[in-house]
Symmetry: C2
Amino acid sequence: MTYFRPEIESMSGYVPGEQPQTGKFIKLNTNENPYPPSAKVVRAIQHAAESGLMRYPDPLGNAFRDRAADVLGVPRDWILCGNGSDDILTIVTRALVGAGQRLRLPYPSYILYKTLAQLQGAAWEEVPLGHDWGLPPEFAAATADLKLTLLPNPNSPTGTMVSRDAVLQLADQLPCPLLVDEAYADFADENCVDLVAKNERIMVSRTLSKSYALAGLRFGYLIAQPHLIQQFIKVKDSYNCDALAIAGATAAIDDQAWLRENVDKVRLTRQQLADGLQELGFAVLPSQANFVWCTHANHAAVTLYERLKQNRVLVRYMNYPGWQDGLRISVGTGEQTEALLALLKAMV
Amino acid sequence: MTYFRPEIESMSGYVPGEQPQTGKFIKLNTNENPYPPSAKVVRAIQHAAESGLMRYPDPLGNAFRDRAADVLGVPRDWILCGNGSDDILTIVTRALVGAGQRLRLPYPSYILYKTLAQLQGAAWEEVPLGHDWGLPPEFAAATADLKLTLLPNPNSPTGTMVSRDAVLQLADQLPCPLLVDEAYADFADENCVDLVAKNERIMVSRTLSKSYALAGLRFGYLIAQPHLIQQFIKVKDSYNCDALAIAGATAAIDDQAWLRENVDKVRLTRQQLADGLQELGFAVLPSQANFVWCTHANHAAVTLYERLKQNRVLVRYMNYPGWQDGLRISVGTGEQTEALLALLKAMV
């Protein structure tokens, strides 16, 4: 006999990218930033560690909300702090999608979204992206019991984007909230933050894991209209963000000069990576994120993945049935990117 | 119209104890430890802050699991790390209790448990504790659809305990897993960790918030048989504990000498607090936790709470309909306790 909900028992569980805790790898498989975070972040954390860890943190992380409100140009009660944007995705799904209801996501896309549906005992609809990586009309259809639509923008694993106009139009047509997952938006040319004010169904999630180089800190946030934020607060754990993460995240979003410099470097290397891969015969999708998706007509992606791993370079091999398999390669430092390209050159 | 699940829309949400972010209070309302954590914890966090925050943390927190396994005398795959024990409680409830099913808790008890049931669209059964704070036979009854029983031990707000024998007997009779919430067990004379091996239905949760003085860090863990842990891993967020929390928690559980010294101090002050309150005419329940529950025959608890707050001392006023209202007062430093007693002396 089992004690578990049947949905839990039968699911296989989301498997995140490999995180080797020992050994020296060039790690280009989970879209981490190759550079360390701002020194101001490290100092803020070190100070917070000495400043009353025996006390519970602020349940709402208002220090972060205040600074983020300034930077984003929204009032602070439009912002909800989360223990990584995974926490935000969990909160939103739990609040909106009940057992037997459904959520929608594009295909190919972030595999975790399906796991979130499974955990709720909910169904999911995967709608294939168009050939130009745009949204087909079915993506806006009002299916019965559709309670949430998830749109990563830029998308993973493709790195492609849907335009702001398309997002606005989609939200107007959908019968349910639309969560625009902007995990990678800092690396893109545009974003949807200001659209939240135009339609209450548009919500935007962000993470500090990628562009702020703080994957280890676990901090993300949601931007939504305040009557929605009020409901989400009921669903989150009371103290979902710890005092160190709040202090570090506040210092991070306060240091926009660091962000701009880092993003400039990553975008430059992204171009070098894409160019280098194309020179080696890879097909590379145009990316607005800190990774690229590539395939090679003459070489199986899984073989390249394994040979790179033997050479202590980790990239992400992904197989999307009905679409294709390929490699999602994070943008590393210039040096890491050159090392990767040199290895691939010897393989293709 | 609303986009939210009706259960979410209609619930009022759990309200944690006040966390004033400004002003100087003697804070005896959320059972925090009055002393700062071990200096080794602070150093471990400060080191981790400089050691690759751009990388994702270990999804399972194995550094902590290894040290905790040594300290607790269980294998490491019997341990699940959580972002506070709130995260553990959420994971366990989501994994076991589906919509329309039910969980059981004692009354009076930790109010959050009901919130967890509400979030799942589940029902809850509150079973009144006996007059000696033991478990009545109904607590072991096999109600239809009962999927989880929660037993805080020591209990909050009473500070009282159920014996190990009673826990074993309860687990033998129940049709579902029994989560023994040992948030306060380090302050007690005994605990149930070794009972997990005797019956797979017994699970024990712990937090570092109270006895390790790390409420600001958000770290808790579950001890359960490994086939259960495997299922819970599917439900947790992939990276639910951040790199700083894992480093701090590992250093904390490694410093058992600090723990023993701290617990000795708190237990001594607990006795002084209970004695002092009784001298002032309060009825005080015998506590095995780091707080006491007290009432006064001649003075309304809510008035005492308000007058203490005016004097910048925060205690927790709680009202349990059908039982009683009273004050739950955390054990502070010796000095804080004397200040509290002096204020109360002037009021009663």
